[in-house]
Amino acid sequence: MTQKEILDELKAIIVERLKFDPRRAAEMTLDTTLPKGIEGSLGLDSLDFIELSVAMEERFGIIIDEGQDLADEFRSFDSLSRWILSKTA
């Protein structure tokens, strides 16, 4: 998969599983930040990140180690999609 394809899949997850509006998702880019507490981010909280993790495991066939600190990887769609690329390579 390319990074763009992964971004499209992540945007689909944001709509289907995290219940964002599709029009909002269409505006999201690789630069879009995710966690609550960052100005202009999607404002995802702990419940959202669990749901996102579960959806990513299903969609990309990866395993996310719960013990690992992935705060940096989950910061933006860019960092997240690069991380998924590295796990699926």
Binding site: R17, K19, F20, D21, G43, L47, E51
Partner: protein
């Protein structure tokens, strides 16, 4: 106990907004419909994207209550606002979604009635003493009595009593159980109570539901919201003097009696 004053009421029902939307006869107005549903309110879709319909209705009822009070949300924020939430079945649909293999289990917290009051408390910053009661109309009356006790004990300066009922999941089951006198009418009602004058008594007994009596003849079946909505109707009637709200559910009866009309004067009519 001292009778609390009712500063404001926000009522949203399957009939429409406010007491003025409630028909004179629920069965006639329903025209054969078993359930009068409420649309999901159009609040901030991103803030409430995860919240099921019943949570958003709770938030909207409190917004309607604030509009009735002509106050902003800052008027009820903080530690000196108590909160009593009451419902019979508002969380049923969310539970069904999690039992069946669709939707996600991560939204499991929303299966609890606490999610409804939780979303309201978060939205309005309500941090005072807190309670959640489950049951039919008698639980609604109990919730009002609890609020009065909280004010009398001085644990808070005002209390929000919120009832929410939705019936998208359980209409069939209530039909089969029987004992309903009219259509199921979805509702969300917020009462703002504060210290008042006069006395409030709560008496409990045992007895059967007396047919489509009193407010229920107009409201339809609103379960825990019934006593709260009945107060909205009574206020709209303009009647002075003592107020009596009766409730009955599964062999139990509850009567709330204020020694005089508890409503704070409003600058404009309902």
């Amino acid at each position: 106990m001292r009778g609390p004053a009712i500063r404001a009421i926000g009522l949203i029902t399957g009939w429409g907004v406010g007491a003025g939307a409630v028909p004179p006869d629920a069965v006639a107005a329903a025209g054969g419909r078993r359930v009068l549903s409420l649309e999901r309110p159009a609040l901030d879709p991103e803030r409430f994207r995860r919240s099921p319909r019943e949570c958003v209705l709770g938030v909207a009822a409190v917004a309607a209550m604030l509009e009735d009070a002509e106050e902003g949300p800052e008027a009820i924020a903080g530690e000196d606002t108590g909160f009593v939430f009451v419902t019979a079945a508002a969380y049923a649909a969310s539970n069904r979604q999690h039992i069946e293999p669709r939707g996600s289990n991560v939204y499991f917290p929303y299966t609890a009635p606490a999610a409804i009051s939780g979303e309201v408390a978060i939205e309005y910053g309500i941090r005072g003493p807190y309670g959640i009661l489950i049951g039919g109309p008698t639980a609604g009356a109990d919730a009002i009595a609890h609020a009065a006790e909280m004010l009398e004990a001085g644990t808070c300066r005002r209390v929000l009593v919120l009832g929410v009922e939705i019936f998208e999941e359980c209409a069939d089951l209530y039909d089969r159980a029987g004992g309903l006198d009219g259509p199921l009418v979805e509702a969300a009602c917020g009462l703002w109570l504060e210290p008042g004058e006069g006395a409030l008594t709560l008496s409990r007994g045992r007895g059967r539901r007396g047919g489509s009596g009193g407010a229920r003849r107009r409201l339809g079946e609103m379960l825990a919201c019934e006593p709260l909505a009945a107060l909205a109707l009574h206020r709209a009637s303009g009647r002075q003097g003592p107020v009596e709200i009766h409730a009955a559910w599964r062999g139990e009866t509850t009567s709330l009696r204020w020694s005089h009309a508890p409503y704070r004067a409003r600058r404009r009519a309902a």
